[in-house]
């Protein structure tokens, strides 16, 4: 899966490996057309939702009109609950993601470089990667608390596996020539790690992070739903219990926006970090 995601930009870039000058700017670029069409599709769906619910084609209790949902978000925003819930959810998701990445990237590199580390972690990752990580939640609640700690550990746990798998795959298939170059210039084994392996594996590591981040968001919401308390997931499950469909949809819309912003931000980080890579010059 990660390889496919990575191969796509590379294959596209292969068509024009040598691009000396930026494309001359045209009044309407294909990219702008793409964005316009995508925005139009989202707007059309939102329109169908709004008017479908409003004119009785859909049951307004089961599917309240979008404007009502947005109105609720606005009210809660002013009341101050939305910033608290969104902030908490974001804090848990990003902290867990960061912990998962900080542990996962070095583990993945070490797995690729050292047979000993690989022997130990390979079976664990093989079992852990396809496993539904959320199954560990009851145990984490017992071990840790019912507040932030267990939620963040749950998120970190779910982010760890995609990061480790991608990093290890990225570092195992490195082109030997830049490594040989660095060694011939006198780089020591420890320096190679930071100076060569890490930047070379960066495209695949970032792909791993891009898989882990939405996974972390999902885990955060599910964890909050199961454990209750503040946070978008907790607020939604409360709204559900009170048959407040508007409240549930308000949560869904918030999650959509939050997820979009977070995932896009990581894409921007990727473009910054891989400025040297042919994929950045499409």
């Amino acid at each position: 899966m990660m390889n496919m995601a990575d191969a796509k930009p590379l294959a596209g870039a292969g068509k024009s490996p040598v691009q000396k000058a930026p494309r001359p700017s045209r009044p309407i670029s294909p990219r702008m057309v793409d964005i316009a069409v995508q925005v139009a599709v989202v707007a059309a769906l939102a329109g169908i939702w709004e008017f479908g619910a409003r004119f009785g084609a859909l049951n307004p209790f089961l599917l309240p009109p979008l404007s009502v949902v947005l109105g609720r978000i606005w009210e809660d925003l002013i009341a101050g609950t939305v910033p608290v819930d969104l902030g908490l959810t974001l804090y848990r998701a990003l902290t867990g993601f960061a912990i998962g990445a900080v542990i996962g990237i070095p583990t993945g590199i070490l797995m690729a470089r050292s047979a000993l580390v690989r022997w130990f972690f390979d079976p664990l990752v093989s079992i852990g990667f396809p496993m539904p990580k959320i199954a560990f939640l009851p145990i984490f609640i017992l071990w840790f608390d019912i507040y932030d700690t267990s939620k963040i550990i749950m998120v970190a746990f779910s982010c760890f596996f995609p990061v480790v798998a991608a990093t290890c795959a990225g570092c195992s298939s490195l082109d030997k020539w830049p490594i040989w170059s660095a060694r011939s210039f006198g780089a020591k084994e420890r320096e190679l790690l930071w100076e060569v392996y890490l930047p070379m594996a960066m495209p695949q590591i970032l792909t791993g992070l891009q898989v882990a981040l939405p996974t972390g968001m999902i885990t955060t919401i599910v964890t909050e739903m199961l454990m209750g308390g503040r946070g978008v997931g907790g607020a939604m499950i409360m709204a559900g219990r009170f048959a407040d469909s508007v409240g549930v949809f308000a949560g869904i819309v918030q999650i959509i926006i939050l997820g979009f912003v977070v995932v896009k931000s990581l894409e921007i980080v990727r473009r910054r970090l891989l400025i040297w890579h042919p994929e950045s010059r499409k």
Partner: protein
């Protein structure tokens, strides 16, 4: 790491030119398994201080393997390779290499690629800056310092790789078919430039190629290697003027020597094709 590498004298040569001595070197790929393949068989060769030596032979004759052994990239299994600095056991900055596929760091700009080796060699910041500018200018890449390798053509990437290698001033320059990926015109220009650089810096160069004309144009001496397993079949002195430009291609001796060597190489190439069936 050697002491000379850590503290090179400023603006002087970091590494003196060095001779290379190869005695009884054999190499088997997959030696630990039953189906091991003998790539080099009993190689004996002495390359002098400041000599331009070409290893010439058909594809798969082990000439690159021999170069990687000299570079210390693959361990010597049998026999002994030593330079003036002592036996070769690992890669080191006294023997810099230019690979066939450039092997630039794709995440670094042209300038940062050149600076990397200089930093490792222990040059101070002002010197690094000055040397990087000098060698980038030498390979005509001024104006492309901040370009990434993926933005450059193959020829430009190879020139960047050559600048990166020359900048650290290695005593021994190892080149593995460095012009193989270039078009004919660029190739000719690069050959002339390399010859000039070598003449001015007096480095010891070991240059791997399968192109007879390239070998005769560049080398002082040529080792013709046999088809697998690689052995040195002939060592030929190239008695041509030190100054070699475009005009040498019409020189009678040049043509005669090229034809002679071509016949010797052809025998090996034919043997290699027969061996493959």
């Amino acid at each position: 790491m050697s002491v000379t590498h850590l503290a090179p004298p400023p603006r002087s040569r970091a590494h003196a030119a060095s001779s290379i001595s190869i005695s009884d070197v054999s190499h088997t790929y997959g030696a630990r398994t039953a189906g091991g393949m003998l790539a080099l068989d009993g190689i004996n060769l002495d390359i002098g201080d400041g000599e331009f030596h070409c290893l010439l032979g058909p594809s798969g004759c082990g000439k690159s393997t021999l170069l990687y052994l000299i570079g210390g990239f693959i361990p010597v299994q049998a026999g002994m390779i030593s330079t003036s600095a002592g036996p070769v056991t690992a890669p080191g900055p006294d023997r810099s290499i230019v690979f066939q596929n450039f092997a630039l760091f794709p995440w670094k700009t042209v300038k940062d690629n050149v600076l990397y080796g200089l930093k490792k060699a222990g040059f101070n910041a002002a010197e690094r800056e000055q040397r990087a500018r000098h060698y980038i200018d030498m390979v005509h890449l001024t104006g492309f310092e901040n370009a990434y390798p993926s933005q450059l053509s193959g020829g430009m990437q190879q020139r960047a790789a050559i600048a990166r290698t020359l900048a650290v001033d290695p005593g021994i320059l190892l080149m593995d078919e460095p012009f193989g990926a270039l078009d004919a015109q660029t190739r000719r220009v690069m050959q002339e430039e390399l010859r000039t650089i070598w003449r001015d810096s007096r480095k010891t160069v070991v240059f791997v190629t399968h192109d007879v004309q390239e070998a005769v144009f560049l080398a002082d001496r040529i080792s013709i290697m046999s088809a697998r397993p690689g052995r040195i079949q002939h060592v030929i002195d190239v008695d041509l003027p030190k100054e070699r430009g475009e005009e040498i291609l019409e020189n009678r001796e040049f043509i005669g020597l090229s034809e002679h060597i071509w016949r010797l190489v052809r025998e090996q190439a034919v043997a290699a094709t027969r061996g493959a069936h």
